[in-house]
Symmetry: D3
Subunit: 273 residues, 6 copies
Amino acid sequence: MQVKEIIRQALMEDIHTGDITTNYLDLEPVTSIAFMIAKAEGILAGVDVARQTFRELDKDLKITLYKKDGDRVKIKDEIMRIEGKAASILQAERTALNFIQRLSGIATKTNAMANLIQGTDARILDTRKTTPLLRELEKQAVRIGGAFNHRFGLYDMILLKENHIRAAGSITEAVSRVKMHNTSHKIEVEVTNLQELEEAISCGVDRVMLDNMPLDEIKTAAKKYRTKIELEISGGVNETNIQKYARSGVHYISIGALTHSAKALDISLLFKE
Amino acid sequence: MQVKEIIRQALMEDIHTGDITTNYLDLEPVTSIAFMIAKAEGILAGVDVARQTFRELDKDLKITLYKKDGDRVKIKDEIMRIEGKAASILQAERTALNFIQRLSGIATKTNAMANLIQGTDARILDTRKTTPLLRELEKQAVRIGGAFNHRFGLYDMILLKENHIRAAGSITEAVSRVKMHNTSHKIEVEVTNLQELEEAISCGVDRVMLDNMPLDEIKTAAKKYRTKIELEISGGVNETNIQKYARSGVHYISIGALTHSAKALDISLLFKE
Amino acid sequence: MQVKEIIRQALMEDIHTGDITTNYLDLEPVTSIAFMIAKAEGILAGVDVARQTFRELDKDLKITLYKKDGDRVKIKDEIMRIEGKAASILQAERTALNFIQRLSGIATKTNAMANLIQGTDARILDTRKTTPLLRELEKQAVRIGGAFNHRFGLYDMILLKENHIRAAGSITEAVSRVKMHNTSHKIEVEVTNLQELEEAISCGVDRVMLDNMPLDEIKTAAKKYRTKIELEISGGVNETNIQKYARSGVHYISIGALTHSAKALDISLLFKE
Amino acid sequence: MQVKEIIRQALMEDIHTGDITTNYLDLEPVTSIAFMIAKAEGILAGVDVARQTFRELDKDLKITLYKKDGDRVKIKDEIMRIEGKAASILQAERTALNFIQRLSGIATKTNAMANLIQGTDARILDTRKTTPLLRELEKQAVRIGGAFNHRFGLYDMILLKENHIRAAGSITEAVSRVKMHNTSHKIEVEVTNLQELEEAISCGVDRVMLDNMPLDEIKTAAKKYRTKIELEISGGVNETNIQKYARSGVHYISIGALTHSAKALDISLLFKE
Amino acid sequence: MQVKEIIRQALMEDIHTGDITTNYLDLEPVTSIAFMIAKAEGILAGVDVARQTFRELDKDLKITLYKKDGDRVKIKDEIMRIEGKAASILQAERTALNFIQRLSGIATKTNAMANLIQGTDARILDTRKTTPLLRELEKQAVRIGGAFNHRFGLYDMILLKENHIRAAGSITEAVSRVKMHNTSHKIEVEVTNLQELEEAISCGVDRVMLDNMPLDEIKTAAKKYRTKIELEISGGVNETNIQKYARSGVHYISIGALTHSAKALDISLLFKE
Amino acid sequence: MQVKEIIRQALMEDIHTGDITTNYLDLEPVTSIAFMIAKAEGILAGVDVARQTFRELDKDLKITLYKKDGDRVKIKDEIMRIEGKAASILQAERTALNFIQRLSGIATKTNAMANLIQGTDARILDTRKTTPLLRELEKQAVRIGGAFNHRFGLYDMILLKENHIRAAGSITEAVSRVKMHNTSHKIEVEVTNLQELEEAISCGVDRVMLDNMPLDEIKTAAKKYRTKIELEISGGVNETNIQKYARSGVHYISIGALTHSAKALDISLLFKE
């Protein structure tokens, strides 16, 4: 689904057959001004998604952005100003906030991790452990936070895991088979020890994923093979140990928690009285 | 969107034009057996969504459930067994896990909160601060975790907030207006002090939301009005202070973090060798 | 489906691969003016749906509304004026009329019923006996006509019918079970005699539906319980007997015929020569 | 939209995020048997749509049809038997009935009209005055009732109305223009007097629509031109005058009320105790 | 699907989760001017589809059309000028070209065939051998190229083929049966010899399709029956033999290759430096 | 759109409100057997799409495949056998054939090209010049024919074209910019001479596209850089000159005509009498 369609469906999910509070109040239409305000410190993502949400609900709402994706906000910072029919603002409010809070939460968590490894040569990658239907937006939030995107899905990169390799017989056989068909996508192979790593290198793949390898072994691998192949580690990395891994010499550290366990950034809407 | 359609879209998001790893491997179809295993302790939710995800991808997969929604799992507990074409299991794996991990994360967090207030008369409510497009599933996870659902959207309950009341002129006027049209949905009013609370009661509404009221005032309100109206408190409640609020005598405590800031429960898929 | 989407689908249903009459005529585009005219007396509903239908087909059509939803029209009254490309007006004409005629038919029938019981304390409710896919619009037409909406679907109110009660064992057991989960929606129970009615009241439900009860019994019920619970009667009410029922003291009379058997209001489009 | 999709959307309209009555009752699944029963005399249409509605909701429901489209039912006649999970039957009940009641209402009204003109050479046609989104089903109900389908939309027949003719300059010019492009669809022309009728015949069109012509003139037209061209009359025909028109010698009488003003046929669902 | 929706889906097919080349370049937005240029001689079709494609991607693109559907272009002719954000032009370019190249290819091939039979009384018809999902657009391209549309699908004309006739027993029986229901669509019958042709005429159908009849027999048929019925020939007609068939006296020659085997017209986009 | 959805939409495009020929014939259902037969020599693709088309229309059709994707067929070869309701076979026939004919046409043309360069080290690539909405299927047909897939869209590979490079200032700057964000997709750069080629190599990209370079220069490039980088040529290659280009030493030759100008393979359906 396109972002535009996701926004439309999200609004329908909340409003459905109508906002009965507003409808039943039967008030004359009034113009209001509201401000989206940060209530916690963090990195913004989804600013434009929030803006589009208001506009999708009512294209006559006037929106002024004070902040943009990637900006760091402090408590009480104004993010945007919305002017227009009060009923429209109230009806889009929750959906717009749900988007920007979740995406900013991801950007904030990602940014914190990325800051921890500044100065090293390692880059943080996201995973496919994203919220169903929101992968595109969440992967964008990861980039905004300062990390990088692993493949978007099963369709844009080849990743030979243990099961694929076992089924083919060996790393060499598995890689040889996919190279019979592949010309345009990168090939990564999951390996569990140095011997497999060397086999992968000799097959000419683009990257290896060192799966739950001990730190010592990772360092050995990085020292010997860092210039020959992209090295990615995966599993068990968190705020407390990421620096050690980042200094091991690997190129990539992939972390599912960026997207599956980020806390929403606290943001709210305030009407000007 | 229906759950069935959400599952279909989530699979499409991941697979899109095809799983190139498996397609390019060009292997003879083999039958595999895989187990979904808990890697952390928690409460399950989304067991059936995961099952449906595998079946939507390949209706010939045979799935045996060992656990059901609401069950508490410990590390290494087997949740379900999947048997069928290895390629199908691999293609649905990530999407199925993304659903069950997120929903179980919500159920687990909810359950922890609910346990903290056991023995009190208060019930925990969720909010509309859910993931866009997943509200139905997330609200179900909240119920599974042992809490209760507030309204599903703007369409199934009337909630007069500060802005509505200001626009109408007074609580009394606002309630009177919606009663001109409403017959089938509950009416809740947001109040900020005892005077407004009394006005709401005198209008005959079903519930009031005590917005950021100090605990003392909440206790006073509960003592005097608990039997006359449903009392809900909202804002600033967390694991450390929920017991105090729950003992205040209010009926409901609504908590956005149940859905917007739960961590995914760690669950993975293991192939039987 | 959203109203906007219903309109789009309705236009596609009529136009599909193209209006061959206009396309094959190959005329230079001309600007025309047309008037939507009432050809029978009644209450309008769907005025804005008709307007949106023209605009969805051609956003350059200029539409001036002379009447609005809820207005009573007499034969020959002008409802709106449409100015723009003749081909566009001709292509949207039938679909726009189909909407406004049906919805005005419902509003007109509803209004006639509502007028019959003016001065009583009873309110007319609609039912779920609506046209598939048009429920939201038809329930709006009912409100415009002067009656009230019962639940929109199975999702926004609890209605325990005979079958539910029998399955649970008793009214008391059924209500107790739903209260274990419900916090935000009203509960109604179908009862067939005074004893069941009393049981429902003692369980603390919001409303009872007196199912095909004789008028005498209804009056007794209303006299004794009117202030304790909302009373709804259902079944067999029509233009000739509604006044008797309305004076019985019940709060609500639900009538399926408002939506399932209203005649379209005669409205047509006239081009200015 | 396909019929299958219409059914799916109609079920979603009613059930949306879930049937809270049944869900909250938390009962063990029980198997029930229900009968769909006629509560008024009429002609059935939509029997299979109702069956598909139950099956779409729960493909394990077992349905036995006792009657089929076109059958005449009397009060208390059993139409179908549904066996399966009680919750499934209750959830599909209203939607299934809404379809079959509306469509049988149309078939019944159509059949009554068709019976009135039996023995004449005239055939009754429907119009495009159908319920938005239900045209295919309603036109099917018309055929089941014993009448015939006019064009399905703007795309499958050419109908030159007054406005088209005026824009082209004359009937002759208008017909000549469409014949430059048309090869596969019938051409009908609206005429208001005998002179125009003769012009239409001389252009070689398939049918003329005599628009609000007085009965005498219609008879003259039929006598002179009945063998040269198909004659259709339109406007102002109802149960009381249709016989006179049918005996005038025209081929077709088109009647919008078949679809826009039919009353639903009373049909209900009874659970076997 | 509507044309608008086809365009939207086609853009999504190409862009999906985002144009990573442009996104990763991270350039300041620049305004560019590009020209769509013919690189081969031919007849244009789909000019407006291409224009809509650019506008669907970015409604701020300004497009000036130099040519319109049906125009003949020579190499280097400018077709349209697009001005706006360079990224937008680059993202819509391929999809817009894919539409206009394919449709112009069809118009060009159709036009060549039509020119070959100029001066005869025969008209070329297309078939249902179109690209799935693009039938409406391709049939439009055929009209633009100078030929005519056979039926759009199974729903807008009756064509009794060999199998239908065999199942009914005879042409006479088959036609009689469809006339029991049909009033508004043309009837065509497939015949294989003169005897069947005469039977078809005697049944009063609109057209016959002479299926793979030898030219001599076609000529005989045309001479005897040309004024009594529309004659269509089908199968085996191509650029080298069409003139002979066209001079045989038949009304229609249907050719599947117009749509299933046309080469794309070479058209490209050039940015102004 | 998923293949399943494309098939569904294609059937709806053809059948829409119903196959009036079959419906109006009102025959008893009969079981028929039909064979899909090749009427020209070629390579099959889309066999399973055709099978799915029949099954989507009527899941009770029994289909036996005699040939599979990639098989070479001669005239009169049987491809599949379809058994079931005659009406179902007739209704799906045209759509199923439209798919398999187009896709087999692409596979056949691709195969002919691939055969011409057998023995060389070059591989043929497709392009994004595919039929809107059918890209996935057409790219699959290309693989079946023996060539390889270039990127699927703008989202799964980076291709820096002349315009991107000009906007960034230089190849070096453009590549450096995209490498700031990209980790998981291949990078290709369009170059027009050897100097640019060398710059691209020094930037560390995966592939270069030699745009309309003269054959001599291509040979020089291949000799010097073939082992350092993937070389792709594009533009102006056809059946008559492909061998010269293939022997030049480049790795890839991309050809748009595979998908935009293939002729449908002649295949038809024959009913067993």
